[in-house]
Symmetry: C2
Subunit: 329 residues, 2 copies
Amino acid sequence: MTKQIKLEDVAAKAGVSKATVSRVINRRGYLSQKTIMKVEEAISALNYHPNVIAQQMHTQRTKQIGIIVPTVGTPFFGELAAELERRLFNKGYKVIIGGAENDPVKERKYLQQLLGRQVDGLIIATHNANIAEYQHANLPIVAIDRYLRDDIPVVYSDNYAGAREACQALLDRGATRVAYTDNLNPLNAQDEGRLQAYRAAMRAAGMPELIYPSLPDPEAKRARFAQLFAEHPEVDAVFASNDLDAALLLDLATQRGLRVPEDLQIIGYDGTKTTQTLLPGLATVVQPLAAMAERTVALLEDKINRKPTPAKVVLPVTLKPGRTLRQLA
Amino acid sequence: MTKQIKLEDVAAKAGVSKATVSRVINRRGYLSQKTIMKVEEAISALNYHPNVIAQQMHTQRTKQIGIIVPTVGTPFFGELAAELERRLFNKGYKVIIGGAENDPVKERKYLQQLLGRQVDGLIIATHNANIAEYQHANLPIVAIDRYLRDDIPVVYSDNYAGAREACQALLDRGATRVAYTDNLNPLNAQDEGRLQAYRAAMRAAGMPELIYPSLPDPEAKRARFAQLFAEHPEVDAVFASNDLDAALLLDLATQRGLRVPEDLQIIGYDGTKTTQTLLPGLATVVQPLAAMAERTVALLEDKINRKPTPAKVVLPVTLKPGRTLRQLA
């Protein structure tokens, strides 16, 4: 009979304390990825009791999941949070919701609290850059539309394909100068699919790039977008990286006496239920919110149960035509 | 020196078990209002240790607050939840969010779980009727726009004044037949301020009431609202009890070839940031969301700290004119 492997053996093999092994097993506290890997390799090499691990984990579960979004006060993140909450509730979880509000300090505070003992896992859909806590988080995490770390799976909708289709729809309908409003994602190249597709489309069409930032402050954004028409009266099409930007541009254009779509075509992005109700005529790229939520929750459960997960999942989007696009010639 | 009053003394005086006294003090579990009152009267009559009570309560605090809304996926409740979350976070609370989704079963499940041990207090902004749990809930609760029980304070915006102003704005601009879309609040007369004000305005103007229900199913609602124009071609104004209804009517009217505001004036209700961005031309009654959240959190803290609270607080609304109203003659 083989010798019973103990926690001490794992600690000795990994060259760390017993407490550290326990924290890795129970996914609590902050640990470097290096430490986690060393311990997991030792567990694996020694074939340390998987049943005991499962039991320990089970008894420590809180049946609470943290969701951190920029805010539930905008249609995309409000509807996303609602879709996640419904699915998590059906699986017996309660949801702690945090609004990071484009404030890295608030996001870090949430993480510091939630990474402690309060949740079994986290779903992250924020856009703040350089939050160091993610590098040491020792808890099941799934991200939406945001790369955090190689071993944290990301659920994307197909930003590149969606933006490519949006630009193509404008060009197919005679657009000669296309501006783009860019969500401020100060993050990784892999999160910039919409921007990259716009750039590629302009390059292929031999047109210049006209990129306006979607500023977080509403008044500043309005002022900046208003400049677009003054600075570039030749613009006859806008691809907005979200529907709120598209609506703002529609309003500004109307106030300026521009006819939509005759003088200016507009296409947005997101296509939430709220947008489709309040602004049914807007052409937009519809993200598959329900499917994204479904996949996110499934991946989080896999993470919690220590099953392997893919690095990313990319879900297809659909283009919804509308009265802000001209008829195809 | 007076004799030290003990838990047993309170239990004996109230005619209940020690466990029941403890549950009343710690605000846990389900108890009838009658039991709670008996125990609180005994505590008061015997002048039982307020410090001990405070301490016991303090140590049992979870620093979590539950918020139950219909969904965070619509502009009003999404923005309300965001305003509440920000304030609660600043006070050191985390927020468990529950979407009741017009489903009394889901709302009851949330209550059964949250009333147990997981939260220090609850904020309720749902519209399901006859949830018996509220009658026996023994926990600090504040409601928004919904009467639950005499001792649960309610934060309202001034539904009656807002609806009166909306109707008056339409009548002042020459409306001769005003329809109303009614949120399904199957609850108490005190929650029906908008309906009552519409009825009073029609009575005063000698006009018939034309009330269309705001059905929860989007397709059914669209079909029902479409009937309005067929059944009552004489309607030249609509007061919608929420902006999503107003947007739907605007779309239906446009599809039918009606000019807004020449043929049909429309005014909505809520005036969220999302609506004002996506549909800036819509006339609407703006609810003071930030002030409602501020007052709700303050009342909940008073409840948690056993300070007296008013039965209700009514906050003023403002009418936002827009391109869906005619010019004043």
